[in-house]
Each structure stands twice: as C-alpha cells, then as structure tokens.
C-alpha cells in the first residue's frame, strides 16, 4: 500500500509538472513565434514604407499627379490610376495604392471600384499621420477575406496636398507561410471577427472569434469544432492597429502527444513495479512465515516433552540461524533429559532432583541425618560359588529389594559398595523423623530379604543374610569430588559408626540383625521395640558406646543368625 501510494503521488507530481512544463514551453514558443511574426511584418512594412517614402517626395509623380488632377477628365483619371498601378508594380510588395485627399476622399485607386468602396480609409488616419514626425500612419482594415495593413504617406509638393495609401495583405497565403515556418495554426482576429486563418481553423472561426475577447496574454485551451487547441492571442503592435490580434494555436493532441506517451509509459512501469513488488512481498512473507510455523511446531513439541523435535535449516539468514539455534537447543535438551534418566538410575530420584535443581557446586553443609549401612553375610563365600553373570543378577535382585525398602521409607541410597548398601535419611531432603524412617527401612529390608529368600529357596539357592547398622548425628552433606566428576554424599563419623555397628551384628552375643547407636534411639520420635545391648567398645572410638538392637517381629526372633 505504501509503495502504491508513493508511486501514485510520484506519478501525479510528475504529470502535473510535465503539464505545467508543456504549457510553459508552448507559451514561450508562441510568444517567440509571435515576436518573429511581428518582426517579419514590421520589416516588410518598413521596406514597403521606404519605397513609398521615395514616391512621397517624387517630383515626377507629383508633377504627373498635378497635371492629371488639373485636367480633371475621364482620361486623366484613368491615366492617374494607371500611373498608380505602375508605381505598385515598381514597389512590388503593395496590394494596392490609393490617393486620398486630406479629408479621406478617394482620388484614385488601383483597387476595383467595388473593393475601393469597401475599404474605407478615413481622414483620422491622415490626422494620425500628421501628428508623427515622419507623416506616416498605419492601420489594419478588413477587405473581403483578407486583412490589409494600410499605411498612409503624404505626397509632398512640397506640402502634403494629397496622401498616398498603400496596402500590404495579411492574407491566407501569409498565414499559411508563417504557419509552415512556426508550426502553429494562425488566425488574424479583427474587431472580434476571425478574418484570416489557416485551413485547420476554418470551421472554428466563430468559436475562435468569441474567444478572442478573452484578454490576450493568457494561454487558453480552446475547444474548436471538437478539437482542443492550446493557444495565445497576441495583439498587433499598437502603432499598427489596436483592434487586431494574432491568435497562435497548436492542436493540444499533437502538442501533448509526447507527454501522453510518457504518461502511458509511466502507468505501465508503475503497474509492473506494483506487480513485481507484490509478488516479491508474498514470497518474502512466505519465506519468513514458513520457517516460523516450523519453529512454532518445534517449540510446541519441546513443550510437550518431545525433545526429538528438529526444524529444517533452509537459509543462511537470521531465520536459518534461529532454526539451527533451536536444533542445538533441542539436542541439548534431549541430552540433558537422557542424562537425567541415567542419573535417576544411578542415584536416587531425590538426589537426582536435588542435583538437577540445585547449583552443581562443590561444597557442603552440616546436616543431622541417620545413616543406614547394610551388608550381606558370607558374601565372599557366596560369590566364589557363582558365575559372574549369575552373581550380578542375584545381587541386582537383592539391591532392588533393599533400594525399594529404603526409598519406600523416604531414604536415599548413597552408594553400593560391593555387597553393601549405604543409605541416608534426612538428606538431601530434610525430614525431622529420619531416625524413625531408618529403623522402619531396616525392618522393611529384613522383611524384603525374607520374601526374597523364600523365592531363592524355591529355586534351590542359598538365602541372603543381611546385617544392618544405623547411626544418627551431624554429617557434612554435599557434592564431593572433582569439578568434572562428583557425587552427592555425606561425610562424617556417623558414616563410619553405621558401618561399625553393622559389623557388630556379626557377633553372636548380641543376636541382633539390626544395631543402632544410642543417638539414633534418642532421635526416634515414634515407639520402636529396641533391645538394650549395653555399652561396647567400638573400633576407632575411645569411649564405649551404648548400642541397641532393633529386633524384627517375634517369629523371626527364634532364628539364630549364623556366624
């Protein structure tokens, strides 16, 4: 739209300027042509005047005239007219020569009697001549279908006794000749009537005459007989005649033809430009929207969790860059998703979540947690009797049970160490009853082990026997390792203590499958059946610690733990 309106405005401006220019140019041409025409006529008239001026003071002519006038008979008059014809022949340019008295009366004329009577030259022309230093005056009179530029000069003998009137024709031949030279149609308008004009204007005479009353000097568009003309009416010089104008016209069609051709070319060019820009606009828009739609679809897939979404990269521009950035983003998301899956498999979901959401920074904090340490009895012996494949398979089945029990109680498995499992309660997710949870988890592990052993018994496999140590206290929790590779874990005496307490379950004197520290017992919030095992020496501890046994339900109590 902007382009279209800009083009339209430009076109209109150009058209207006061109029209104005054309008018200005025509006006200048007409003024120039008129100037030339008047100059030519003036020169011709001056030439004619020089010839007449010689006649004006010609003694022989005056003498002849006097003799014939004094004779005043028919022969004398005929002779006088013959003499005038003779002089007209000498001068050449004159259309007629007439002798008039001071009061305008015709004495002799080379025109026919009829024409002579029609062409009235009154005494006022003589008066005008008398007022001038050169005793000469000019006027323009209509004679039939011609205009006559009429000049009067005295016949000096030596006073101006009679006057010589000489005519110069402003006729169709002159108009045609000048029209040919100037390229304009020409009309001579006299007293509001078109007397002489070039053939093209012939039928438009009345219209032209009525228009000639418009003040001259204005460029007019005249509709003459169905044709438009552009023209200017210029008056003859005042010392010729003030009732006569020259109208110079040119056919508007012919004059404006180059402009209209230009106009057509401009219209076609504008139309082509609009079409091309329209098509280009559509193409550009489609080039933009298509990748955008693809990107939007891709983003939608990502939002729905489908990280496999990819968009085609078709261009090297900003959209192409955006598409490849999107693809890189999708790849990144996909890799992260896979990493999270893997993480979830290798660490507990809580730790994985904590790792994903917290800043992966090395460092830690002191937390009050409960550590659970479980270990398989007679595992070394057991492992020697199994193939590696069967070993891992059976271990995995065992660990699955243990892990399930830990997680069910709200703990996280920190790590698997050979046949041992280390679990943490109270970190990374802080809970107040971490001791209770750990004790419950221990009982659940024993229960799960019993169930697993029942299945193993059916398969002819030896049962697993698990010992569990539980300790509670302050530890340092956090990401431990190098910048590239680290684990969320807990470090502290309580970890070692849990491991020691687990070892104590091997001592038959305690007859306990699960031993917890006195701190754990103190941290318990709920009621649990604990059996006081008294104080005992713990390796690595200077003082004896009081420990407690967490016994499973009564049914299991009768069974002795070997070793």
């Amino acid at each position: 739209m902007l382009l279209a309106s800009t083009q339209t405005v430009t076109f209109l401006l150009v058209a207006a300027a061109e029209r104005k220019h054309a008018q200005k140019r025509i006006r200048a041409e007409i003024e120039e042509a008129t100037r030339v025409f008047i100059q030519v006529v003036t020169q011709t008239v001056r030439q004619l005047g020089l010839a007449v001026r010689l006649l004006s003071s010609d003694y022989a002519f005056a003498s002849t005239f006097a003799q014939l006038r004094n004779a005043n008979d028919a022969v004398a008059r005929a002779t006088l007219e013959s003499a005038l014809q003779n002089y007209r022949g000498r001068i050449g340019l004159a259309s007629f020569i007439r002798l008039i008295s001071s009061d305008g009366r015709t004495i002799a004329d080379t025109l026919s009697a009829e024409a002579s009577a029609k062409l009235v030259v009154d005494e006022r022309l003589v008066f005008r001549a008398e007022e001038t230093p050169g005793l000469q005056a000019t006027t323009i009179e209509a004679l039939g279908d011609t205009l006559q530029l009429v000049m009067v000069y005295p016949l000096l003998a030596p006073e101006p006794s009679v006057w010589i009137v000489v005519g110069f024709p402003l006729d169709a031949a002159l108009a045609a000749e000048f029209s040919r030279l100037s390229g304009f149609e020409i009309a001579f308008v006299h007293r509001g009537k078109v007397v002489v004009c070039t053939p093209d204007l012939e039928r438009a005479k009345p219209t032209l005459a009525s228009n000639s009353t418009i003040p001259s000097g204005e460029l007019q568009t005249l509709d003459l007989d169905g044709r438009s003309f552009l023209g200017l009416t210029v008056p003859f010089p005042e010392d010729f005649d003030d009732r006569t104008q020259i109208a110079m016209l040119r056919s508007l069609e012919a004059e404006m033809a180059p402009f209209w051709q230009l106009e057509r070319v401009l219209i076609v060019l504008n139309a082509i430009a609009l079409l091309v820009s329209g098509i280009a606009g559509v193409l550009v828009a489609r080039g933009v929207t298509r990748p955008l739609i693809g990107l939007a679809e891709g983003v939608g897939k990502i939002m729905r969790g489908d990280y496999s979404a990819r968009v085609p990269v078709n261009s090297a521009d900003e959209l192409g860059a955006l598409a490849s950035a999107f693809n890189r983003m999708a790849i990144g998301l996909e890799e992260r998703d896979q990493a999270r899956d893997l993480l979830g498999k290798s660490v507990s979901p809580e730790v994985a979540h904590e790792l994903m959401t917290s800043n992966l920074e090395l460092g830690g904090e002191i937390r009050s947690v409960t550590i659970l340490f479980s270990d398989l009895r007679e595992f070394t012996t057991f492992s020697e009797t199994q193939s590696p494949h069967a070993l891992v398979e059976q271990l995995n089945a065992y660990f699955t049970e243990v892990t399930g029990a830990v997680e069910a109680a709200g703990g996280v498995v920190d790590k698997y160490i050979g046949d041992a499992v280390m679990a943490i309660f109270g970190a990374p997710v802080q809970v107040a009853d971490h001791a209770d949870r750990a004790v419950s988890a221990a009982l659940a592990i024993l229960q799960a082990e019993e169930n697993l052993n029942r299945e193993r018994g059916e398969q002819g496999l030896s049962p697993f026997r698990t010992g569990i140590g539980i300790s509670t206290g302050a530890v340092v929790a956090g990401n431990v390792g190098s910048a590239k590779r680290h684990n969320y874990t807990v470090i502290g005496n309580e970890v070692n203590l849990a491991s020691r307490l687990e070892s104590l379950t091997k001592q038959t004197i305690f007859r306990a499958r699960v031993i917890c520290s006195d701190a754990t017992r103190a941290a318990l919030k709920g009621a649990h059946a604990l059996r006081d095992l008294g104080e005992t020496e713990i390796r690595g501890k200077k003082e004896a610690l009081r420990i407690w046994a967490v016994d499973p339900p009564v049914v299991e109590r009768e069974k002795e733990i070997p070793d």
């Binding site: 003694y59 001071s102 008398e130 007022e131 000096l156 003998a157 030596p158 006794s161």
Partner: protein
C-alpha cells in the same frame, strides 16, 4: 492716387523653415515692402471690420492673412517682385501679391534650384538654374500658390494671390482690421500656411464690425535638410 500697400514678407532665414515651431509666423520677423499704388481708384466710403482668427482649439492665430472678396472691384494693380533662394530657403516665406503680378526667383546659392508649383492657382516650374531667374512668373489667377524645390524637399514658400485690396494680417491676438470694405454683404476669407484645405470663408453683413473665423490647422512638421542631422545616418 497712389496708396502704400503692405507686402508681407515672412523672412525665413533660418534652416528651421516651415518645419519650425507651430506658431511659425508669430516668431518670424517680417518686413513691410513698400509698394506704390493709387488709392484714388477706390471709393473711400467703406467701414472697418475686426476679424478674429482662431484655430480649432480656440487659440488665436497670429500672422494669418485675412481678406474680403470684392469680386475684383478693388483689385490692386499688378506689381513686380521677387522671391529669392538663399541658404537653400525661399525668402520671404509668404508673399502677398495682387493678381497679375510678376515674380522673379533669383537664386543666390551656389547650387542649382528647381522651383516649382503644382498649385491649381499657378502650376509652373523653372528647371535647374543658378543666379538670375531665367523666367518671370506671372500669377494671373487668385489663390494660394505653394512653391517647392525639386532638389531640396524641405524648401517651401507661399504666394497669396489676391484680387482684392482689402486684406490684412492678424496680430498676436489673432485680430486683423479690414478697412475700406465695400457696402453690402461681403465674403471674408482667412488663410494660414498650416491650414488644412481651402481658405476659410465667412459672409459679413453690412454694418457688422466684428467677425470670427476658425482655421483647422494641421500640426507643423519638421522638414530639415539631411546634413542638419550631421551627415550620414
């Protein structure tokens, strides 16, 4: 009996000639030429008439010639006089003579002149001559005779040929006094060099002592010798 008749001489000693100012005669000195006549030939019973001559715009015309037509009854005897050509001008510019007078045209210049007239009252020409006038021209018909020179276009002079002795010249106020008018109605005429057409006439009734005549004058035009403009042009 002899009377003294004034003969008007319009001196034209300057190059301005008739191309001079519009009131040509008023600024030109003129002299009276004494002519011997016989007054006793006319009845002395006439009265006096004052004639005011004006132009078409009402201004008085000085040095106009005014006369009364008397049908030849008061005609003065012819005389002999001359109009000379000097410095390529006629001298005097205006000469009033009784009908039948003879005029010579001595050429005092060192170039030839060709004096002519195409006037109806007297048409003549004296082809190229120098010194004494080869011809004496007799003006035997009353009227205004305009003289020219075929060699010099600007030379012009007038001979007013009258068949009456009752004539006068207007003064600066445009007034001329005609004396010795005959009894009965009389035609009074006036003429001036720039008059358009024939002399103006007016009928005067007996006992009328004042008359007014209007002359339609054409503008004066300057006709100067070509060398007055400084040679080639």
């Amino acid at each position: 009996m002899k009377i003294t008749l004034p003969r008007l001489v319009y001196a034209s000693n300057s190059r301005q000639g008739l191309g001079g100012p519009s009131h040509l005669l008023s600024c030109q000195p003129f002299a009276w030429l004494m002519v011997i006549c016989f007054l006793g030939a006319f009845p002395a019973a006439g009265s006096e008439l004052q004639v005011l001559v004006k132009d078409q715009s009402g201004r008085p015309v000085e040095s106009a010639i005014v006369w009364a037509q008397t049908g030849g009854k008061t005609s003065l005897p012819p005389l002999q006089t001359q109009i000379i050509q000097k410095n390529r001008q006629f001298l005097p510019a205006v000469t009033v003579v009784p009908v039948g007078s003879a005029v010579r045209f001595p050429n005092q210049d060192n170039v030839q002149h060709h004096v002519y007239s195409f006037s109806f009252a007297k048409t003549f020409d004296i082809p190229l001559y120098i010194g004494e006038s080869p011809q004496t021209i007799q003006f035997d018909r009353p009227g205004i005779v305009t003289l020219g020179c075929n060699i010099h276009d600007w030379m012009a002079a007038y001979v007013v040929v009258l068949d009456t002795g009752v004539f006068a010249q207007t003064d600066a106020k445009g007034i001329a006094s005609l004396r010795n008018l005959p009894g009965g109605p009389v035609i009074v005429c006036a003429w001036y060099p720039r008059l358009r057409g024939e002399p103006v006439k007016s009928q005067i009734e007996p006992g009328q002592s004042f008359a007014e005549l209007t002359l339609t004058l054409r503008p004066a035009f300057r006709r100067t010798p070509p060398d007055d403009r400084g040679g080639y042009r």
